[in-house]
């Protein structure tokens, strides 16, 4: 009687372990993409300050900013991109997330939340992707 009980307990434990393992594995395998929209920003700064930091010490700036969600502010110098709308600020090129369809024009002062990906030395801009416009009261 006691042995039977032990066997049942062992089987139950095994089922839980294997089930848990499978769940964790497939959960990981199918885990969702990062939610840039709702992520807390690591830093908030002006677009040209971000560029200055990269030009001053690229290695340190990479450590500090890359892959982090930032909020950058500045005026739109130009809007570019046929398939991926990119807002060019002074020192930052911000590619909008495909769900961001907000209306913007050259010259607008904007506040943008996005993820820093790299420093583009051809244009002297810090690249951000997955960007969203933050509507702020004037």
């Amino acid at each position: 009687m006691k042995e039977k009980k032990t066997v049942i307990i062992i089987v139950a434990v095994l089922i839980v372990l294997i089930g848990g393992g499978l769940y964790a594995y497939f959960g990981m395998y199918n885990k969702s993409h990062r939610d840039y929209f709702n992520e807390e920003p690591a830093y908030e700064l002006k677009s040209h300050e971000l560029r200055d930091d990269f030009q001053e010490d690229q290695a340190a700036a990479q450590d500090k900013y890359l892959d982090k969600v930032l909020i950058v502010t500045g005026a739109i110098k130009k809007i570019e991109g046929d398939t991926n709308k990119t807002l060019i600020l002074d020192g930052a090129a911000c590619s909008l997330h495909k769900s961001e369809t907000g209306e913007v024009n050259s010259g607008d002062q904007v506040k943008i939340k996005g993820r820093a990906t790299a420093y583009d030395d051809m244009f002297g801009d810090v690249r951000l992707d997955n960007c969203f416009l933050i509507k702020s009261k004037p």
């Binding site: 990479q62 570019e80 398939t83 590619s95 993820r115 790299a118 583009d120 051809m122 244009f123």
Partner: protein, 187 residues
């Protein structure tokens, strides 16, 4: 004497205008995708944030691809790519710096397809390799300037180590496709 100085004046004006019309073209939303195929699985990733500038007169060209902007279907693959293979925090971009050889044969004003050779230094994962690949300019009916290239890259050539657990899942050579839609660079 008067005619001589007039000629000199005209010549100097021409020279100055030439310096200002540099005929550079660029894009900042170029497409770069790669495809890895093995019997175990096919993996594809797409990047729409590549930038490029080239000079029509000299053929000098540069590409810059922010590696973090490659999008994979599975978040886990994207994570492996960035953290384990490409190490994108340390090596955030891939670059190509070189020349379009044969660019003098491209008539940017005339519809057609023109193939040149992109020769130069290709840097991925901090490792630079010299390459020569075909690059095709497509001038459309509307006068748009597009560029396209397909070439193979061996991860091993750029010291990208694939751990044993996924070695069967990732091809020894991946196919890279580049598609650019250029605009004139106005300074």
């Amino acid at each position: 004497m008067k005619i001589k100085s007039l000629i000199l004046f005209v010549l100097s004006v021409l020279t100055v205008t030439n310096v200002f019309t540099q005929n550079k073209y660029y894009t900042r939303d170029g497409h770069v995708s790669f495809f890895s195929s093995t019997p175990v699985e096919d993996i594809k990733a797409v990047n729409r944030n590549a930038s490029c500038i080239f000079d029509q007169a000299t053929g000098k060209v540069e590409f810059n691809v922010p590696m973090k902007s490659f999008k994979f279907e599975k978040a886990l693959m994207q994570e492996h790519f960035n953290e384990d293979f490409i190490e994108s925090n340390e090596y955030p971009d891939a670059t190509f710096k070189g020349v379009f050889e044969g660019i003098e044969n491209v008539d940017f004003k005339k519809e057609g397809e023109y193939t040149v050779t992109a020769a130069g230094d290709f840097t991925v994962h901090g490792v630079t390799r010299e390459r020569e690949d075909e690059f095709t300019f497509i001038i459309t009916e509307d006068g748009e300037i597009r560029g396209k290239s397909v070439f193979m890259v061996k991860p091993a050539d750029h010291d990208i180590e694939i751990p044993g657990s996924v070695r069967e899942n990732i091809a020894k050579e991946v196919e890279v496709t580049v598609k650019m839609n250029y605009k004139e660079l106005k300074r």
